[in-house]
Amino acid sequence: MSSRHEFIPHVAEVAWRLTADTVPELYAEACVALGQMLVAEAGDDGPAGERVLTLAAADAEALLVDLLNELIYLAEAARWAPRSARAEQWDAGNLTMRLTGVRLRCAPSRIKSATHHALHLTTTDAGAVAEVILDV
């Protein structure tokens, strides 16, 4: 299974289903998916270097929400959005991501936050699947 994301129905917000072979790859896919949405809204002015994010949270699901919220903050405050991502270190409560990104032409405002609502992250022999809702 290769990493991918799809939009799933929600009457008011944006909801994703993310799939990947592993949880670290799923985190990377979430970064790329969000980056695509941010660039679609704000446009980009080309490469803007690399960032390393280190996060700690209560569990794998909270890590996913924290990761997305970190990127939403960076987009608005630093006009930076991820283009590619790789998890360098992960356990159930800690994550280090290395990301390359682009500079956004303006600060996006469409996505307010990633939420914990109906949040699922499950792993099976087939890989990892998560559903997450973004407030827009």
């Binding site: 405002s109 914990h116 109906a118």
Partner: protein, 479 residues
């Protein structure tokens, strides 16, 4: 989402109210009531709003009943259009019960100018409004606040703009809570929230936010309309926005903090987004202080936009053109209020406060009629002005609906009609639209929302609020 939607036993109490009894699910502490006629009840049941409302009915310290307004739709944690009151003594406060856009709200300005005067200059007016009110992607606004200036706004709200001559005492008198919540604690607002908000005062943001020039199409209550300075055929301006990135970050920060509190305390919730803390706890009080500070930022934001709207009218029409604030009311907020002799933390998420004539917080100008209640419709459809009722205090903790309420996902709306088609449809009706791309127009198209006329009929017939005037759009500046 893959979580299955449940159905619950329910009974229709009358033509406007459906009740889900406290016995419907074993973890419910109180009953749930949904204000909806048969058509709206069918729409509301299509998504998970009822599940979400039942989840809210399980929270500690909740007062009976929890409520959904006729514009309710699925949100995250609480449903949008939800009202829930929790006892200050043994109840909770929940960031998810307020929402990310803290004090998202609506402000109505009366221009006193007939539409016949405004329409010939509408293009110039909308251009000037679009030029002076940043919208859409979060470009910095006209006010870039230094840390001390931002602190003043967080502490004092609209009152902080008096010194800058961007507000008048009369404006504050006609803003909920005087545009300034005394419980605000700027120190509880994180550096991140400040960084997101410092250059956003006076900006609309995106989504369903807007500034609309509207015409008073019809008046249902002459006395109330006169008290508000509304006359049939006159133009008014409706402003819909909130606390921008600053408020979003406050909610993000405290949902995270309270998620940790839940885990430490071993509290299991039916939905993690309902993360909460006892109102009296240090965490609960710190969130309340931060939320009030973000709400003050939102009041000041709508005030700064009011200043820009006034300037645009003066430039377009006459140097002495004035616009009076009819009222400014929040629809995403938790307030400490007294109901039935009890001190309650009333959460209104996508719901409007609707106090009647007898309530001491109703401004003196409206003591004979009740607090103005502003209900924006979807883009291109009608909006309504109503007044709160004393009956609403008994029925709904003094609360009412906040809009039409979404009925269709953004994706489905884009599929149903293109943005270009929506634009052509609005322009064919003489409505000037500015500031929005075709994607935003498609997502906010009228068919994506419930019928606002029907929603308002329900709240009027249920005595939650009383119709005063119907407004129709003339020019739309979209966020």
């Amino acid at each position: 989402m893959t979580t299955a939607k449940r159905s619950y036993p329910h009974a229709r109490l009358d033509a406007q109210v459906v009740e889900i009894p406290v016995t419907a699910r074993s973890d419910m502490r109180v009953a749930a009531r949904i204000y909806a006629d048969a058509t709206l009840w069918d729409q509301i049941r299509r998504d998970r709003s009822v599940d979400q409302l039942v989840n809210v009915a399980t929270l500690p310290g909740v007062e009976s009943p929890v409520l959904a307004m006729p514009d309710a739709h699925e949100g995250y944690g609480f449903p949008v259009g939800g009202v829930a009151a929790f006892r200050a003594g043994d109840g909770i406060i929940s960031p998810g019960g307020v929402g990310y856009d803290i004090n998202c709200g609506v402000r109505l300005l009366a221009s006193g100018l007939p539409a016949a005067v405004v329409r010939p200059q509408l293009g110039a007016l909308m251009h000037e409004l679009g030029r002076s009110i940043p919208s859409g992607t979060g470009r910095g606004g006209r006010l870039d606040l230094d840390p001390a200036g931002l602190d003043r706004v967080l502490a004092a709200g609209s009152r902080a703009l008096l010194d800058r001559e961007m507000a008048t005492v009369d404006d504050l008198l006609h803003t909920e809570a005087g545009g300034s919540l005394a419980a605000a604690d700027p120190d509880a607002v994180s550096d991140r929230a400040r960084q997101r908000g410092h250059d956003q005062l006076g900006t609309l943001g995106s989504g369903n936010h807007f500034v609309e020039v509207q015409e008073v199409e019809s008046v249902f209550d002459d006395t109330a309309a006169e008290a508000m300075g509304l006359r049939a055929g006159d133009c008014v301006v409706l402003i819909h926005t909130g606390s921008r990135g600053l408020g979003h970050q406050v909610c993000t920060d405290y949902v995270r903090a309270m998620d940790a509190v839940m885990r430490r305390a071993g509290i299991v919730l039916p939905d993690r987004e309902l993360a909460c803390a006892p109102f009296g706890s240090p965490e609960g009080q710190r969130y309340f202080g931060a939320m009030c500070a973000a709400a003050n930022f939102a009041f000041a934001n709508r005030q700064a936009i009011t200043h820009a709207v006034r300037r645009a009218f003066r430039q377009t029409f006459a140097a002495d053109a004035t616009l009076e604030v009819v009222y400014d009311v929040a629809h995403n907020m938790a307030k400490l209020e007294t109901h039935h002799g009890r001190e309650l933390v009333v959460h209104r998420k996508g719901a409007t406060r609707a106090f009647g004539p007898a309530h001491p917080e109703t401004p003196p100008r409206y003591r004979a009629i009740g607090q103005p209640v502003l209900i924006p419709g979807s883009m291109g459809t009608a909006s309504y002005v109503l007044v709160g009722t004393d009956a609403a205090l008994d029925l709904s903790f003094g609360s009412c609906c906040h809009g039409a309420g979404r009925a269709m996902s953004r994706h489905a709306a884009r599929t149903a009609q293109s943005g270009a088609e929506v634009r052509r449809g609005l322009e064919a009706r003489g409505i000037v639209v500015t500031g929005a791309g075709n994607r935003e127009l498609a997502e906010e198209a009228p068919h994506a929302y419930k019928d606002v006329d029907r929603v308002v009929d329900v709240v009027h017939d249920a005595r939650l609020a009383r119709r005063v005037a119907r407004l129709v759009p003339v020019g739309v500046l979209k966020g």
